[in-house]
């Protein structure tokens, strides 16, 4: 049903004003700030990584800790993956715990060893840990390859030998 002159009636003008405000607000605010719920630029997966790293830890008793088996321990050691497609700490109240993993980049050995050594204070029973880093990158044949992992031994400066051992 068409109401002639609707846009010029007081009611039509009121409704149009609300429509205009809605459009203007949702078009402008996301240009000023990436995320401010309910406004959003929907920035998920806007990055274009060329590679990523998997970090794991091997304990003196031979146990392997990976992202899948024990993420909490990896997080305590600072080698967990925080990435899941959205910019970290944007549009949320918390930033995930610090990590050596900057998705899409390869951290150098010194940085990883320093980060893990500092955090071994929480694990005084471990004499050392071995950090295993695997780089996952594109291959020339159009597939994705996992390079052989590099292993770095990190001695625990906080190690307390158990009594009697």
């Amino acid at each position: 049903m068409s109401e002639p002159g609707w846009a010029s009636t007081p009611r039509g003008r009121k409704e149009l004003l609300v429509v205009g405000l809605f459009c203007a607000t949702f078009a402008v605010v996301p240009l000023l700030t990436t995320e401010l719920y309910p406004f959003s630029r929907a920035p998920m997966f806007a990055d274009a990584p060329r590679l990523y790293c998997d970090y794991g830890v091997r304990l003196p008793d031979g146990r392997q800790i990976t992202d899948e088996t024990d993420k909490a321990t990896l997080t305590k050691l600072g080698v967990q993956r925080n990435y899941w497609g959205n910019p970290l700490g944007v549009g949320v109240g918390y930033e995930p715990p610090p990590t050596v993993d900057d998705f899409g980049k390869v951290a150098d050995k010194e940085f990883v060893v320093e980060m893990v050594a500092k955090r071994l204070e929480q694990f005084p029973d471990w004499r050392y840990v071995e950090v295993v880093r695997t780089v996952v990158r594109p291959a020339a044949d159009g597939l994705i390859v996992r390079e052989p992992g590099e292993t770095w031994r990190v001695n625990n400066p906080y190690y307390k030998r158990a009594r009697g051992s």
């Binding site: 846009a7 010029s8 039509g12 401010l36 990584p49 549009g91 109240g93 918390y94 930033e95 715990p97």
Partner: protein, 318 residues
């Protein structure tokens, strides 16, 4: 010619079947989202650090409010009560406003307490707001029509409600698409990043994951389709002709994305189907067919199938 006459079309009204279909769908989806956000409120890794950038429009409130689970549960209860009353068209327009407001508060409070952003609920939140605006401006007509038992026969659904949903959906995807180009350039769609994401997050049993991982060309083609679909969101706002095409591209993108990654963009998919595909144009025909089947004899004059041509969806240009 009056200066605003070209906007008169936004005030054209049709019977409320299509509007109610969208409203009921979005209410159902919002219930699922609300339950999820209530259950997973405050889920974040130990050692997460509070950030001081505002996450939502509620960030200006004291932490005693934004970090309080009781507040989130309270708004969840308000949402549930509002949604039931709105569905029954009771306490209008307050039930509509309570539903839209409390849903968006629950989502905002979830973000305030989380370390991971998600975009699965933005569309539901804004569709509720748009539909609350409809019920607010047409509350008297809706109440009168209900009292007279002629709700379904009365032209109550203004075109601007549909226009706002098209605008919001198109803008949501358009911004996302152009943000990708602005951040990474057109090389975003080179297939490598999608292969890496599929390797990392993908369900390896999905046929789409296998296609992506076995061929960079296939991965690049999918990324281009997604990018064209997302950027096409802005085109869909102005072009009625291209809107279904953009809708199909984006629905396809969501089907593949759900199959590979499992992220729950179901609400977006339903809204794309209802808003970008010609459902609004088909609805009066389905209603006419149904009413014809049910028998016209007992129906009010305004509800007769012939009336649909008059007060259904006009043959529009945009």
């Amino acid at each position: 010619m009056r200066p605003l006459s070209h906007l008169d079309r936004l005030g054209e009204r049709s019977r409320p079947h299509y509007g109610q279909l969208v409203l009921w769908t979005v209410l159902l989806c919002a219930c699922a989202h609300c339950l999820y956000f209530e259950l997973y409120w405050g889920t974040r890794p130990e050692g997460s650090v509070r950030v001081h950038n505002p996450a939502s429009l509620l960030s200006f409130l004291p932490e005693a409010v934004t970090l309080n689970r009781g507040v989130c549960v309270g708004f969840g209860v308000l949402f549930a009560a509002g949604a039931v009353l709105w569905f029954l068209r009771r306490l209008l327009p307050w039930s509509a406003w309570a539903t839209a407001f409390s849903f968006n508060v629950v989502v905002a409070l979830y973000f305030e307490n989380s370390s991971q952003e998600t975009h699965v609920a933005h569309v539901a939140g804004m569709f509720l707001l748009i539909y609350a605006l409809w019920y607010h401006f047409y509350r008297r007509e809706i109440r009168d029509a209900d009292r007279a038992g002629r709700f379904w026969a009365t032209p109550l659904y203004p075109r601007w409600v549909y226009f706002l949903t098209v605008f919001y959906l198109g803008l949501f995807y358009g911004l996302s698409g152009f943000n990708k180009v602005a951040t990474s350039g057109l090389s975003w769609a080179n297939g490598v990043s999608l292969q890496l994401w599929a390797e990392l997050f993908g369900d390896k049993s999905s046929v789409f994951t296998q296609m992506i991982l076995s061929s960079r060309t296939a991965a690049a083609a999918m990324q281009w389709a997604a990018l064209v679909g997302e950027c096409g969101g802005l085109v869909a706002i102005v072009s009625r002709r291209l809107r279904p095409l953009v809708g199909i591209l984006l629905i396809g993108f969501h089907i593949a994305q759900i199959s590979v990654f499992g992220w729950g963009f179901y609400t977006n998919m339903f809204m794309l189907a209802l808003v970008f595909l010609p459902v609004r144009e088909w609805t009066p025909q389905v209603v006419a067919w149904w009413e014809g089947k049910a028998g016209n004899a007992n129906l009010p004059i305004g509800a007769a199938p012939s009336a649909n041509r008059e007060i259904g969806v006009p043959r529009d240009r945009g």
